[in-house]
């Protein structure tokens, strides 16, 4: 068994290795970020209790500050992409589709969980997790080698997938405040809406604080330090309230990107730390995975429900597009909603940290995410990218 410092060292080393691997893949034009993510999950699993036992549970608990900061950072990165100026330029039907298609996926999964008797609360938890898709995966598939067969379809799908984070984070925020010990404590606690307002208020305040502090701070290290400080505050305050920091950090990010004059520099700085933290989270998630507590019903709902939801969502996209005079030439567009990325990982880690969800849910969702990453990409590539004949012509 390792000490806390060595474990932290190892995580940093993996993060370094992750950055190098990504650079290597990018140089070779590799288009499968899922494999990189999965490799770190597997690495974590090998280091964890189930295999080598180098990262036992109590050690993962020691590294909890890193996990909390990582989740807040994912929220910040998500928030930094919510540019109201860009969103307001979208057509109303694009925005509606952005809400509706991921919501269909979440509704199918949540409904499935209720039908299978997992309960309304579990249903909401799984729906929040199922709604989050991976824009990065789609980006990597539709850029670089082999342009998509139908550019309009690819563009529309990218838009919907990018939008999917909003319903996911909102639903997730609602689930976490409802599950907070403060909201369920009765007298002396806070009602869920009050808790939500307080938590979001902290996020907004931190956003303005970050902007005020960063004014004039020029260097990369200055901005990185300030963002680390403010995100630590968000993560700490949220943990004290028994909620997740991800929605509050997203609020902070949204304030920074929409109110700041040099917000894109902060986005670049924040992006620099995202990869190491993400790798650290992947390794820790992998190490936490245990086959003993695996909920097959949840796995079934997450895999089956998301595939069904994705098919229905894809149909919705096609119908909406043709109704607005944009006929799509590809089928199976909804499979683009299947791969899940950093946002889903952040939500999952936050849920695990808060102790929300029945035993085995975490393991099952990790398993389902791995399946979606691999199979979803395969299907999507078949549907969206041109075949060899077309490519040759």
């Amino acid at each position: 068994m390792l000490g806390g410092t060595v474990a932290f060292l190892l995580v940093v080393v993996f993060a370094l290795a992750g950055g190098e691997l990504r650079n290597l893949l990018a140089r070779r034009g590799h288009r499968a970020p899922a494999m990189e993510g999965l490799s770190f999950l597997v690495l974590g699993y090998l280091l964890g209790d189930e295999a080598l036992g180098l990262f036992p549970r109590d050690l993962i608990q020691d590294l909890r500050p890193v996990v909390l900061l990582g989740v807040a950072w994912i929220g910040l990165m998500f928030g930094l992409q919510i540019e109201l100026r860009v969103i307001s330029q979208l057509k109303p039907w694009h925005r509606a589709l952005g809400w509706a298609a991921p919501a269909v996926v979440g509704a199918v999964v949540g409904g499935g969980a209720v039908v299978l008797g997992l309960g309304a609360h579990q249903g909401l938890v799984l729906a929040a997790l199922a709604t989050a898709c991976s824009p990065a995966t789609l980006e990597s598939l539709t850029r670089g080698r082999g342009a998509p067969a139908d550019r309009s379809a690819a563009r529309l799908l990218r838009l919907v997938v990018a939008y999917s984070g909003l319903p996911a984070v909102l639903l997730f925020a609602a689930v976490t405040v409802m599950s907070s010990p403060l909201a369920t404590a009765g007298a002396g606690g806070l009602a869920a809406p009050e808790l939500l307002a307080f938590s979001m208020g902290v996020g907004v305040l931190v956003g303005y604080l970050s902007l005020a502090l960063a004014r004039g701070g020029e260097g990369h290290i200055s901005l990185l330090t300030l963002l680390t400080g403010t995100m630590s505050m968000v993560a700490g305050a949220s943990a004290a309230l028994g909620t997740s920091s991800l929605p509050a950090a997203a609020c902070a990010g949204a304030v920074i990107i929409n109110r700041g004059t040099f917000a894109h520099r902060m986005l670049r700085v924040a992006h620099g730390l995202e990869r190491p933290l993400l790798v650290a989270l992947l390794v820790l998630v992998g190490a936490s995975w245990t086959g003993v507590a695996f909920s097959w019903p949840v796995f079934g709902v997450m895999v089956g429900g998301r595939w069904l939801g994705a098919a229905l969502g894809g149909g919705l996209i096609s119908r909406a597009a043709s109704r607005h005079g944009v006929p799509l030439r590809v089928t199976g567009l909804g499979y683009g909603l299947l791969p899940q990325g950093e946002l889903a990982l952040g939500l999952l880690v936050a849920l695990e940290g808060l102790g929300i969800g029945a035993p085995g849910v975490f393991e099952a969702v990790v398993g389902a995410m791995a399946v979606h990453q691999v199979m979803g990409q395969w299907w999507l590539r078949r549907c969206l990218l041109p075949g060899p004949a077309l490519r040759a012509s």
Partner: protein, 441 residues
């Protein structure tokens, strides 16, 4: 406006913690909250200190004291424990910097001064302060009724602890002012040498103190153990330095992260093998600088880039451990001890530097670099409290009170010395304050 936002945010965080008390229990979250307050508040406090023509680290220390467990309690003692990793990391980086700044070629003309000042501090100052404290103790009864042997032991311990300095503070102020020159080289050299000697000296005095106060037979096995620890630390640090130098030369990538890794690895190595973390890192920095000199520039650049944020947290945590209440409780005795130490440092350093033929700025200003005390002294105080149970706890309180005063006064004097001697390359005061800027290298 920025202070107002920070205070509102700190208030909201405090309210959040208050709401969660008894319902939500998450030590990691609490520690992160403290970390956030230390970083954000530290940036603001450092900036404010600089506006007041004080070193930034005085601002960090003051903020730590205000939000620490002895004042507002936004940062609890449990948080400090969880954030210990940062302290280890910061100490490692500081020691790497200290070793890296120590150039063999720079020693040639200054060796006499280095040895003279170190020797005078370690022998004359210990004797002088010890004797004066023995007189004061037998006259004042500050530590309560002590027997003859106990009084001698307490005086000897106070004499040794008067010699201890804070390498972290010395380096942090040098980095902040980007100072270069004779005063810097000599103060840094003496601080490093004293850091090596102080452990041996303290162990020797502790053996004597236990013999005098508890009538334990004098045995030098403890001294052998400490000597071996220092030697092994130097060897381990040398090995680590060779590896680091080879990495800088052959790979040369992610250097900021690699120096952080080395500092952490050294902490773990020291913890596991019973070595002295500070000495391991100093030796590693020294080897990179002097044996793999082609790697030195990249190595020092990386250190300078990665250090400033760590300093904020480190000195904030040090400040949080400084209890102003102890100073008030000890009052006059602590002030008398501090005054005596200050007078001894002033006169002995000037005398030794003059006799060694040092340049005038060294004679005039070097003593100001030996005032600050922090981690080493606090560690020795904790050891005094446990190893000498009959009078150790009250002696430790006196030492802590003196450390608080020295740590508040020391950085201010040291920065003043660097500016007055003309070795600081950055001007003091508001001219260099950039809003929101973490002190950049």
């Amino acid at each position: 406006m920025r202070w107002l936002l920070f205070l509102v945010m700190a208030g909201a965080s405090w309210a959040a913690r208050g709401l969660g008390v008894g319902v939500v229990r998450d030590p990691a979250g609490s520690a992160l909250l403290s970390l956030g307050c230390l970083i954000v508040g530290g940036v603001l406090a450092g900036e404010l200190a600089q506006r007041l023509r004080l070193p930034r680290i005085t601002g960090y220390l003051a903020l730590g004291m205000v939000i620490g467990p002895y004042a507002f309690g936004l940062e609890t003692a449990e948080d400090s424990d969880l954030l210990r990793l940062f302290e280890e990391l910061a100490l490692g980086l500081i020691a790497l910097t200290a070793g890296g700044e120590f150039r063999v070629e720079g020693l040639r003309g200054r060796l006499r001064a280095l040895l003279a000042i170190t020797g005078v501090h370690c022998v004359v100052m210990v004797t002088l302060v010890g004797a004066a404290m023995w007189v004061a103790l037998s006259w004042g009864g500050v530590l309560g009724p002590l027997q003859g042997g106990e009084m001698l032991a307490a005086a000897a311990v106070l004499g040794v602890i008067a010699v201890a300095n804070s390498p972290a503070t010395t380096i942090a102020v040098i980095t902040e002012t980007r100072a270069r020159g004779d005063v810097v080289d000599i103060v840094l050299g003496v601080t490093i040498l004293k850091d090596l000697v102080i452990l041996l000296l303290y162990t020797f005095v502790e053996v004597l103190a236990r013999a005098w106060s508890q009538h334990v037979p004098v045995t030098l096995s403890l001294l052998h153990g400490t000597g071996a620890e220092i030697l092994l630390s130097l060897l381990a640090g040398g090995g680590l330095g060779l590896l680091l130098g080879a990495y800088v030369l052959r790979v040369g990538r992610h250097l900021e992260l690699v120096v952080v890794l080395v500092a952490l690895a050294s902490a773990e190595l020291a913890h596991g093998a019973g070595l002295e973390h500070l000495i391991v890192c100093m030796a590693a920095g020294f080897v990179v600088r002097n044996l793999t000199s082609r790697a030195a520039a990249g190595f020092l650049d990386a250190l300078e880039r990665s250090s400033p944020p760590i300093y904020i947290v480190f000195f904030g945590l040090v400040g949080a451990r400084l209890d102003l209440g102890v100073v008030l409780a000890m009052g006059l005795p602590a002030l008398a001890y501090v005054g005596l130490r200050l007078a001894a440092t002033w006169s002995l350093t000037r005398g030794a530097a003059h006799l060694a033929g040092s340049p005038p700025p060294v004679v005039r200003f070097a003593w100001m670099g030996f005032v600050a005390q922090a981690g080493v002294s606090l560690g020795l105080a904790a050891r005094v409290a446990t190893r000498l149970p009959s009078f150790g706890p009250s002696l430790a309180t006196l030492i802590v009170a003196a450390v608080v005063i020295n740590q508040l006064v020391g950085p201010v004097l040291w920065e003043h010395a660097l500016h007055s001697s003309g070795e600081a390359t950055l001007p003091a005061g508001p001219a260099v304050v950039r809003k929101g800027a973490v002190p950049s290298p």
